[in-house]
Every structure is written in C-alpha cells, then in structure tokens.
C-alpha cells in the first residue's frame, strides 16, 4: 500500500516544487454593463487610506470606471507584479520604482505616455525635473511623478526629555568609523539598561537594555547604511547602469558602522528584533519605547504620528559623516501596464493620480511629499499644524543626495541584501565578506 501511494507522491514532489508556489494574477479586470474595472497596485499600507479616499472622488467623476486597489508589501509586490507581467495579467496602473524601471523599460511592459501627454496637453513642468527626468528614455515617458522621499532621524519627544536632551542636541551630530563621533555619544545617552544605567556609564549591562538609542531597519539599505555610505564618500556603483562597487573601503566602513552601532556600541536595537521581513516597523519600536530614535523615510510620518500621537515625536537631520551630510533621495511614479485592456480608462486614472487635486489631498493627509513641486508647502503645513517640523526632509533633498542605484540587477541585489545584511547585523558575517558577496552576485546578474 505504501508503495502505490509513494510513487505518485514522489512524482507530485517535483511538480509541486515548481508549480505550487506561483502567485498568479486574478485577471478579473474587465468590463461589464459598460463599467470598466481597473486594477491599481501599490505597496504602502500607510498611504493607502488617503489615496483610497481620493480614488472614490475619481469614481464619482467617472461613473463608468471602478478602481480595485491591490495592496502587497514591498517584497511580495515585486515578485507578484513580475509574475503577473510574465503571465500578461498585470494590474492596469501600478506604482513603479526606479530600481525596477531599467528592467521594465527594456522589457517593454510600460506604456509610453509621451503621445498621451501631447494629445491631452498635460503640463509636465509642474513636476520636479529631478523626479521626471529619470523616467524618460529616448523621448519616451514611462511614468509621471507620484512623490519623493528622503531619510530623517525620527525621535520620541519623551525619550529625549528623559535623557535631559532637547531636539537642538540632535543638530549638527557627526559620526566617523573610528570612535563613532558625537552621534554615538548622543545615542549612548539615549540608551538605558534595566537598572537605569546609560551606555558608556560604568556598570551598564548591554545584555539588559530597556531602551536603545537608535532603531534601524532597511530591506535594501535605503534607510540605513546607504546614508552612512553617502556621508562616507562611498559610491554604490561606478556609474549609473554600471557595475556595483560596494566592496570598496568607504562602503564597507559604512556597513561596518551599522554593525558597530548594534554590536560594538550597543546603542542600536539588535537585529534579532528589527531584521526584516519579520521585525516590527520602526514606528512600533519607537512607539513602545524600545528605541529613542529611528532612521526612517518621510513616507513613514503618518505611521509615527499614529504610534506617538499629539506631538509625541519629531524629526531631526541625519548626522554628518567624514565627507559631510547626505540622504538617500527617491521618488515613485505611477505607470500604466503596456498590456492593459483599458488604456483609455487607465490613462484617465493616471492623470487623476498625478493631478494637482489628488496630490494635494494626499499631501494634506500628510502621506507623502508630492511629485508636484508647488504642493511641497501643503505637505509641510499639514505637519506644521500637528506640531511636527518636516522641513529637514526638504533640506536633505536640496543637499547632497544619492538616488537608488540604476541597474538591471535590482532583483538580485534586493533578494541578496535582505538575506546577507541580516547576517551582518546579527554578527554572523563580516561587513567585508558581505559586501564582496553581494557585489559579486549583483555584478554577475548584469548581462
């Protein structure tokens, strides 16, 4: 009896290994009774509510179009979207990210918006040129700007007060790879063990820390070591579209510094808590008092406001490194799938999503800095009204910035970085070995 069962079971083994895990598209976009249903894919839960509200407005203005939002977290989003693209059942309109843009534009899965822009005389000069330019290839336009973001140092007002610090004490901090500089000194003051001893004080027990000075979490590096890399003179690539160079000393030092913050100085929340994809998001970590500050992106403002309401948090600049200040700067676009069955309706939706009206309401809700330059003030004022000064993000955007690497190897880098940097933060792998491994693998993936 066992034999008869076993053979088909083994046969199933190989098959299931490959087929059981495909995340297919539902492909249920379509039209019925003159109504068209568009699928709109996005990855940020925090932004979804204000966007959804605005989309209801859009549906009211366009009674024959229904919009179905498809939310997946960052990791699942890309594997799902690409599987759907391969299966020709991608969402009609979706968020696009610069790290996947090279691949998508090459594979021809994005609709060229240039003729549509010309036909409807859409004024694209309202967008920050820094945002819009990156999405044009040979006169073709593959997306219109949705937003932009930089990284800042979010802090808990209470934790700062308890340590006898003021927000001004977080200004002008510097770090270096040798002794950590004033940045580490300040974080030590914000790190407290169960007996009330602060890091650096005699008798401090690094194994029983109640509150850490800093929390970091970044699936790619955008919110943690890339910023230190920029401040340390590291270049992730030799040139845009070029080869990865993260095994260079300036980069390795930046990776080392993030590991040191955790394992040498004991001022950052251990990787066993924060490692993605299971670690709690940083607004949670700071919100429940496990860390005093967190390096995170401007898109997280609403989440911090929920975790630490009523002026419970503020935002300071990132520290400066050996070569100065700097932050990762990034922006997303709204894109249309080239294979959409409803190009006309998808264009209507995209026009709405990149319109002044939509981006104003999203900015008013404090979700993200808008792609339309003139609305930056709306976003800043929305936060000013809540007592949070967010101008640091804008200053960072105007200062030294680094964009996402432009590469065809984004998949490889993203998947490997998640796995390998987790091991570095845990202390299982050295910064140098990790950098070399990711560098080699990502370069090997460039055809």
């Amino acid at each position: 009896m066992s034999r008869r069962i076993a053979i088909p079971a083994i046969a199933a083994a190989a098959l299931l290994s490959i087929t059981a895990c495909g995340g297919g598209g539902s492909g249920d976009s379509g039209s019925s009774g003159g109504t068209v249903t568009l699928r709109y894919a996005l990855w940020d839960e925090v932004q979804k509510p204000p966007i959804e509200q605005s989309i209801r407005e859009f549906e009211k203005a366009h009674p024959t179009i229904k919009v179905q939002m498809e939310l997946n977290n960052w990791n699942d989003y890309w594997s799902k979207l690409q599987t759907q693209l391969a299966g020709r059942s991608a969402p009609d309109v979706f968020w696009d990210h610069v790290s996947y843009f090279p691949k998508f534009s090459k594979e021809g899965v994005l609709t060229d918006l240039a003729p549509l822009i010309a036909q409807d005389k859409v004024d694209t000069s309202v967008y920050d040129p820094k945002l819009a330019e990156g999405w044009k290839v040979d006169g073709k336009v593959y997306g219109l700007p949705k937003d932009w973001d930089t990284i800042g140092l979010f802090y808990s007002a209470k934790a700062l007060k308890d340590a006898g610090l003021t927000p001004a004490d977080l200004d002008g901090l510097t770090w270096n790879p040798d002794d950590g500089g004033t940045f580490v000194k300040t974080l030590q003051k914000l790190t407290v063990d169960e007996n009330g001893k602060r890091a650096g004080e005699p008798g401090f027990d690094p194994k029983k820390v109640k509150q850490y000075g800093l929390a970091m979490q970044a699936p790619t590096g955008q919110q943690d070591w890339w910023n230190f890399a920029l401040q340390n003179g590291c270049k992730l690539q030799d040139r845009p579209w070029g080869r990865w160079t993260i095994d260079q000393p300036a980069c390795v030092q930046a990776i080392q510094f993030v590991q040191d913050l955790r394992l040498k100085y004991h001022v950052a929340v251990p990787a066993t808590v924060t490692n993605p994809p299971n670690g709690p998001s940083l607004d949670q970590v700071v919100g429940r008092g496990e860390a005093a500050t967190a390096m995170d992106g401007s898109w997280m403002l609403r989440a911090f406001d929920t975790a630490l309401p009523d002026g419970g948090f503020g935002v300071a600049d990132l520290p400066a490194g050996p070569v100065g200040k700097g932050s990762v700067y990034n922006g997303l676009t709204e894109a249309i799938y080239a294979g959409t069955e409803h190009p006309k309706e998808a264009w209507e939706l995209l026009k709405w999503l990149t319109s002044e009206r939509h981006q104003r309401s999203v900015a008013q809700a404090g979700a993200v800095w808008p792609g339309i330059t003139s609305l930056n003030g709306v976003f800043a004022e929305a936060w000013q009204a809540k007592g949070v000064d967010v101008s640091g993000f804008k200053k960072a955007a105007e200062g030294t910035t680094m964009g996402y690497p432009l590469t065809e190897a984004a998949d490889t880098y993203n998947v490997k970085a998640l796995d390998i940097f987790n091991q570095v933060w845990l202390g299982q792998l050295s910064a140098q070995d990790a950098a070399k491994r990711i560098n080699d693998e990502a370069n090997a993936a460039i055809k």
Binding site: I18, G23, L85, A86, P276, L426
Partner: protein
C-alpha cells in the same frame, strides 16, 4: 476473450485518471527536467545552457545551506510528529468517554489552511504581544524573539507543522492499531509478558504498515515544506529557514531564474526519491501485511 474484455474495461475505467496523471504529473516533471537545461527569465526567449545550471548549483553555498536547512527541518519535524502521534493514537485506542471528540479535535488543525495558520502562529510567537511570551513571562522567563532569532526560527516552523500534522498521522496510526487482532495481545498476556514487551514485540511490529505509510508520506511532505516558511519567515532571518522549496521559489519567482529554479527542483526531486527509496527498502524487509 473474457480476459481481454476485462483488461479493456479496466483500462477504460483507468483512462480518466491516467490522463490526469500523465498531463498533470508526468508531463510537468519532464517539463521541469527540460527547463533545467535552459536559462530563462520567464519573459524573454529561453536559451539552452546544457548542464550549466547544475554546475552552478553544486558550487553555490546557498544551495548547500538550503539542503542542510531542509534536512534539519525534516529531522526536527518527523520524529517529533511520529512519536507524538503514536502516543496519542495509543491513548485514544482505548475505549474512553469522549474519545471521538478528542479524535476530531486533534485532526482539526490538519484541515485548516496552512497560510492562515502561519499568520495566526506568527501572532502567537510575536515577541512582545504573542501568547507564548506572555505565558513565559508569567513564570518569569524572558522569551526570545522567536522568528527573528536565527537559532529559534526553524524550531518554531517545525513545531507549527508538528502541531498541524500530528492529528492526521495519529488518525492513520489509530486505524492501524485497531486493525491489530485482539487475540494476539491476549495470547501474549497469557504468556505473562509485560506491557512494554507487548508494545515492542506485538503492537509495534504489527503497526509497521501504517507506520511506514505515514513515515514515507510525511517525510516527502516535510522535504517540500514551503507555505509555513513563506508566511512566517520568508527564509529568514539571514537564511536560517531558507529551505530548498523556498529557495526554488525565490530563484523562480523573485529572481526569475526559471532554469536554475527547475534544476533546483530536480535536486529536491532526486533527494526525495533517494530518501523514499531507502525508507521503502528498509520497511519492505520488515513489514508484515497479513495478520491471519
């Protein structure tokens, strides 16, 4: 003539399932085997690369890590699940009040969706708000960060699956126990054997058909663990739960290296084939099917 008709009839009856078997089981296996010789990103045209994928995977430390992780998982999962199921089956084999209720209760987890269970168990094992650490906290133990600590992630995954599949294994072993004729135990008792002797000399040998069935099928299932890993850890932290099937998914559907993923699937297939063959050889020699 009659025989011929019988044969024709049998084949006619077999045809529908044979068709499905060929189309959905045999053909895809050959498909995967063929794909493993190509380099293909799912969108462009595949290019033939011969055995390159196999050469690459044999030198890939991550593949070896995935193999070891898979074996580690099977070793955590199978013994615990089988022993636990056997003990439960022995307990429920007596005529006790409410025995049927227990039987149903133990089988319930097996009928639930693994993905939904994974999400619920992720909450239960949440280091701050989860039930496990809350209970540990009551007795003064500071529970670990179960799913982000590389030492704990795999045992947690294994325990979730033990919990889910023990009931099913128990059910089959219970059926096996109930098929053992009463007289054999009675005869042994009259001969003055101890309960332990009766268990090891009578019960266990006669339970071998059921035991071999659950061991073979559960081991195959264990080698293919995917859903719990996908939902609870995504192969992390730092690759600690990156089992073969998850690695195949990652190569195939995150990195879109369909050929390489197919080659990995063939490795998993070979591994399962080997282990299953060894199990079958072992049990064939030692199993009695006829109790009369």
């Amino acid at each position: 003539m009659r025989r011929l008709r019988d044969t024709a009839e049998a084949y006619a009856l077999l045809a529908p399932s044979l068709f499905g078997f060929l189309l959905f089981l045999v053909a895809p296996i050959f498909g995967v085997a063929a794909l493993s010789l190509f380099d293909w990103n799912l969108m462009g045209a595949p290019s033939f690369v011969g055995l390159d994928n196999y050469r690459e995977l044999s030198a890939d430390p991550e593949v070896w890590r995935a193999v070891l992780n898979t074996v580690y998982y099977v070793l955590l999962n199978i013994p615990a699940q089988t022993v636990l199921a056997l003990l439960l089956a022995l307990a429920l084999n007596r005529r006790i009040r409410g025995g049927k209720v227990f039987r149903v209760a133990f089988v319930l987890p097996w009928m639930a969706m693994p993905v939904a269970l994974g999400i619920i168990w992720s909450w239960v094992f949440d280091p701050r708000y989860g039930a496990v650490n809350q209970v540990l906290g009551m007795v003064g133990i500071d529970g670990p960060n179960w799913l982000t600590d590389p030492a704990w992630a795999m045992p947690v995954i294994a325990s979730v699956n033990v919990w889910q599949y023990t009931g099913y294994t128990m059910l089959i072993l219970l059926a096996g126990l109930q098929a053992i004729p009463h007289q054999l135990h009675e005869a042994a008792m009259i001969d003055g054997t101890s309960p332990a002797q009766r268990f090891f000399r009578v019960t266990l040998p006669l339970l071998r058909p059921s035991l071999s069935f659950v061991l073979v099928t559960n081991t195959i299932g264990s080698f293919q663990v995917f859903d719990t890993v996908f939902v609870m850890t995504q192969g992390g932290p730092g690759g600690a739960t990156d089992v073969l099937n998850f690695h195949i998914y990652q190569q195939g559907f995150q990195l879109f290296r369909t050929g390489f993923a197919s080659a990995l699937a063939m490795v998993l297939f070979g591994l399962i084939l080997l282990v299953t063959a060894a199990q079958l050889v072992y049990f064939r020699k030692r199993t009695v099917y006829d109790f009369s």
